[in-house]
Amino acid sequence: MGAETDLHKDGPVGAAKAGGEAGLAKVIVITSGKGGVGKTTTSAAFAAGLALRGHKTVVIDFDVGLRNLDLVMGCERRVVFDFINVINGDANLNQALIKDKRHDNLFIFPTSQTRDKNALKREGVERVMEELKQQFEYIVCDSPAGIGHGAITALYFADSAIIVTNPEVSSVRDSDRIIGILASRSRRAERNEPPVDVHLLLTRYDPTRVTKGEMLGVEDVKEILSIPLLGVIPESESVLRASNTGTPVVFDETSPAGRAYVDAVARFLGEQREMRFVKPERRGFFRALFGRA
């Protein structure tokens, strides 16, 4: 244990307290079923957002063989040991954890580039998770796409799940599937514990297209999936700019997507915040006259 004495200093009221008090650290899986919807972007932004709120947070890449979180977090040249090395006992946890240069509370745990998809053995992952819970308040798990071994392992230990969904048919369907899997195959489900609490995060949202009837709206997706809405992230140029430069988008204060993630993190921590970026920016004369059709 050791270095966790200063963990609690500025955590907001009601938030999970950190390690040491084992079992109180919270495991959050960022998952979606479908690929390319923004899981890694969300993992990076959410973990950074939690760190900015004063919580000691680690973000883990579960996408064995297709490591990318390191790039999105901008620490790709600092990876020495990885998740599989720690599971196999070739390195200890603190050798593999990468401390973020922008924030003291933020750590990255990169995955391995091995092609052996079954390298993530459940017992090994469990051991590492228990060790992480001693050090961190939040453990953010970036799931691979699909419903294979990696995705199931990523969600297995979750206390909370953020279902990243695009307002588009295949993404909504896959989210529904993943919600079903969380309800039946997570550790909480297997042990008959209270279920994983699931949150909907709608990403790549374009309010103008929604108004035109070209894109599923927030209410539509909420109604179909019937899980609580954590946030709506607008389609934004700043997301690509953030990944180009290896900066979690929450660090870009001018970015609408970044601000939307900050709001989502606040809601996750129990704050009430109004949804922003769900209406078109500029309301044309006719639209203002007739109301939103």
């Binding site: 048919v169 009837g213 709206g217 109604e223 007739f290 059709a293």
Partner: protein, 97 residues
């Protein structure tokens, strides 16, 4: 006309088509997903038991779990071709006991 219609009634927009399609497909998939794993086994065992008394083949028995609202119903459909009873059905029963 077209302009005003699109303004007031975006009902047949592609988004609303997407929503309807999703509702239908997910209703089906959720029902199938919630179907417990034991259904195929149940069907097999029923086939064995019923087969002791009546000549029956695998495709003549259908087991489905249907959900509508709050109620679920387990539906077992057994087709009997001309009701061919097995001559030794009594014997089968005593053998089983």
């Amino acid at each position: 006309m077209g302009f005003f219609r699109s303004l007031f009634k975006p009902r047949h927009s592609s988004a609303s088509i997407a929503k309807e399609r999703l509702k239908i497909v997910l209703a089906h998939e959720r029902a199938g997903r919630n179907a417990p794993d034991f259904l195929p086994l149940l069907q097999k065992e029923l086939l064995t038991v019923v087969g002791r008394y009546i000549e029956i083949s695998e495709d003549m028995i259908r087991v489905t779990l249907a959900n509508s609202g709050d109620t679920s119903s387990l539906e077992i459909n057994i087709e009997i071709e001309g009701g061919k009873l097995k001559a030794d059905s009594g014997k089968a029963l005593s053998a089983a006991v």
